[in-house]
Symmetry: C2
Subunit: 531 residues, 2 copies
């Protein structure tokens, strides 16, 4: 079983903490000041001209500290079970592993949008466009779009590196798409095409974090990319808690409180991360709330890092997605007034093109010298992959009414989104029907984040097994049912509460079986540990 922070790594971190004479808090404390200072002393102590053997003891401690639960221990166990199932199909009380741990729709049977894939295939193999058969195999607007895109590329080639910021013509298309979405201008020079949202987030952390004294305000629960990236870049995660009682509400008073507390500890808070629609929490922010957040960032001088990758995934009829860019502009804040980075990805939405690793960030409010540094960091990685770049432009400019592909596109898109809404509701109801479980609505995104009220005996059993109680529940669930969820402890939660994240992505014909298996497991588990 692969462990993300191996036992020796854990011991090493523990030892370092013990050695530190200023040690006052434990490793799991929220600000990690003791670990940070001991970190420094370790680095200096460990300096030695002889080349040490490469073991976890001699790796970068920032890497050892980093954790990423979405692909953590539970996934390793699931992969092992899957191999077992193939070798000995009768040995488990289930026939397949159901991956509800990660937002990866196409791995669970969701089909890609035909128009998108026609354009990609034609761009990769333009020789097709010289053949008459192509007109029967591809729609006319796919061919037209592919030709337009090829004309925008150096050498008309998807095999050529592009400008480091991304192909200019594609950025023009994306900027036009943002304008159409928001009703406010967008500048193609503000767009940086990326291999998905994650590399964009890493880039911002790399630019902003100078040392462990720099902090980034992140929601708890959070998507663990943020804590992982902050750890890898040696900064400090400054937690603000979402309010579960009000449907994971984001309270400005909480932001202020945590900002002040961090500053009193000597942390320079540089940015605020907001995930809207929420991951893992699924809430969609109200526009008025977004205005307050913008005012808060403006007043405190924080960069607003807006994770808006679920902008197409809104299911609650009374909710609507508003980009932070639109909110800023509608408040009268222009390009120079607010430091805003909006992240978008081709992996989410109705298209779910995770494997393509495409996305962009729209970067506004930074001066040209700082932008030059963004460009330089992008250039060290040469450019984002071109298929992902093309797909980003398609997502922001899908077929329009009148185009040959439009009806087909609309039916594919709405079919997926309506089905996701139904799956969200079914699973939400199922969770709320379990004894000791409460689950907020999935207004958007791709996840539910139910809370489990675990009996004391279960918590004791988890302690004996050296696991967090929700991790213990999740492993037991996996072994009994084949369903993979991510323990809430991987996202962060109010201490003493326990959750798990479950995607809404299994195909609809699988949902009833999931509900039955989950309910059966849950009652047995609760009976086993009844106080």
């Amino acid at each position: 079983m692969r462990k993300f922070v191996g036992e020796r790594a854990k011991r090493l971190i523990h030892t370092v903490v013990k050695f530190n004479p200023y040690h006052t808090t434990t490793f799991s404390s929220s600000n990690n000041t003791s670990l940070r200072s001991s970190f420094r002393s370790y680095t200096i102590m460990a300096s030695n001209v002889a080349t040490p053997p490469v073991t976890v003891d001699s790796l970068n401690l920032k890497v050892l500290k980093c954790e990423y639960a979405v692909r953590g221990e539970i996934v390793s166990v699931a992969q092992k079970l899957q191999q077992d199932l193939q070798a000995n199909p009768g040995d488990h009380p289930f026939q397949e592993i159901l991956y509800c741990n990660i937002g990866n729709p196409q791995s669970l049977g969701q089909k890609p949008i035909t128009f998108f894939r026609e354009v990609l295939a034609l761009c990769d193999h333009p020789a097709l466009m010289d053949k008459k058969e192509t007109n029967t195999l591809f729609s006319a607007d796919s061919i037209k779009r592919a030709l337009m895109i090829l004309d925008q590329m150096p050498g008309r080639a998807t095999g050529a590196y592009s400008q480091s910021q991304g192909i200019k013509g594609l950025r023009d298309t994306i900027a036009a798409g943002i304008e159409a979405r928001d009703g406010f201008p967008a500048d193609p020079n503000d767009i940086f095409l990326t291999d998905g949202a994650s590399p964009g987030v890493h880039m911002m952390m790399q630019l902003l974090i100078r040392s462990e004294n720099d902090g980034i305000l992140c929601p708890i629960p959070q998507y663990p990319l943020y804590s992982a990236s902050i750890a890898l870049h040696g900064g400090t995660l400054v937690r603000y808690y979402l309010d579960e009682a009000t449907g994971w509400g984001l309270e400005i008073s909480e932001l202020k409180k945590q900002l002040e507390a961090a500053r009193q500890k000597g942390i320079t808070v540089r940015a605020l991360v907001v995930i809207n629609p929420g991951n893992p929490t699924g809430q969609v922010l109200a526009e008025e709330n977004q205005r307050q957040i913008v005012e808060f960032c403006k007043k405190e001088g924080l960069v607003l890092l807006a994770d808006e990758v679920y902008q197409e995934n809104v299911y609650a009829p009374d909710k609507e997605f508003h980009s932070f860019k639109k909110v800023c502009r509608s408040m009268g804040y222009g390009v120079k007034d607010i430091l805003l980075v909006s992240f978008q990805s081709v992996s989410k939405g109705y298209h779910g093109e995770c494997g393509k690793r495409g996305g962009y960030m729209e970067v506004t409010g930074f001066n040209s010298e700082v932008r030059g540094q963004f460009y330089k960091v992008a250039s060290v990685n040469l450019c984002a992959n071109i298929s992902g770049q093309i797909l980003s432009s398609l997502v922001m400019s899908p077929p329009k009414d009148g185009d040959k592909s439009y009806d087909g596109y609309l039916s594919e898109r709405d079919g997926i989104l309506k089905s996701l809404a139904r799956r969200a509701k079914t699973l939400e109801d199922a969770f709320n029907n379990l004894k000791g479980v409460t689950c907020n609505k999935a207004e958007g995104a791709m996840y539910l984040f139910p809370r489990i009220d675990l009996p004391k005996k279960a918590i004791k059993a988890a302690e004996d097994a050296k696991k967090a109680p929700d991790a213990y529940y999740a492993i037991r669930l996996l072994n009994a049912t084949g369903i993979v969820v991510v323990p809430g402890s991987g996202f962060g939660q109010v201490p003493g509460t326990w959750h798990f994240r479950c995607t809404i992505l299994p195909q609809e014909d699988k949902i009833p079986a999931i509900v039955t298996r989950l309910s059966d497991f849950h009652s047995k588990f609760m009976n086993e540990f009844r106080d």
Copy 2:
């Protein structure tokens, strides 16, 4: 004009150096100890709870220190010239910009390998395989390969995230390709698929570099990805010089000398970078030399980071590529005896699929705990893009004798490689015909790295223009001819010598004009500055 290290950034770095009471050397010194310690004091001095405005003064200094010449100032000037040319075609003494700065073959007209693109198009749009027309548009073995690959992927979907290390079936194919190349076994579990070689290099630097006291031995001249990545991760570049007089020979005595010198300065040297075939220098290492390098790494406990992305690009008839893996195994060193990472990319070779961002690293000799950390870092970025993953498998397993595509594939591959060899020879001869220029053979890779003996007056003119002399030459060349080369100072060189890197990639019909323009410019330049 975009500058990579802006004026204010330079001033800031300069100020920091001045403030440092232990300041003994300048910023351009080879070990940077003074900058490193002042860096630390700056970080501590700058700690302030108030959030500072986001300017270059408040960005991560590691980012400011990083430089990447291949896409640096000269490219910005070229892009501006290109816009000018479109707006005012008559204003310049040339009609087009010729990008000889970067190994990007398809941007200059090289066509992709048909088999590779057929497979990619079919994998991206599998619905094609249900249509009868497809059998006339695609070769039978492309269809067969695409079906095999789809069967290896979660959800049979190129739009799904894969396992973080890459799709297992593709890693099996790559391992088989390595075995066929080397004649020694390869383990698919040692393969990590990446978005090109660069992210793999970054990952290794991230894992190995703990602080500025950790150093990495790199060739000078080097591909500046290495210096950039070491700077971004806060380590120390330990230079070893290639010997221009012996065709950029790699001398073990030089490695030992630089290792000792670094150790005496308190630097823990952790790894040795070897680029073979060389970039920017084009030499192909002899097997005996590689054996000495392996012994050196073994004795000193260094990780051998083998940049082998040009393994298909060997032009000298008396030279052959030997992978370091093969060399190690043929010396009798097994998987546990040597710490070796070999980087491969789909961007180079005869295929030149730069825009696809595909590649892999083969990682051998590390224990399972360390491997667990590799896997975790890979998982934070989810996975490499799937088209790049597929292409990596195709590159390591192209059509074989008997396959329908084989003859066409062979003719495309050999056509490209033979043409590259001719272009290398023509340009090498042209450079050696210039007065005051000497140029080693391009035995492999995609570059020539001629040395220019610049007149004192030209060096003075460069000083007045605040540029390195070779950068001054390159900018003058660009403005006079539209030819873009990269100054040697971007790669490092023996102090007082001047070079530039020129790719061999322009299509053959352009080469005569390049030679003429270059020769004309060069004689005028030398006349202008004659001592």
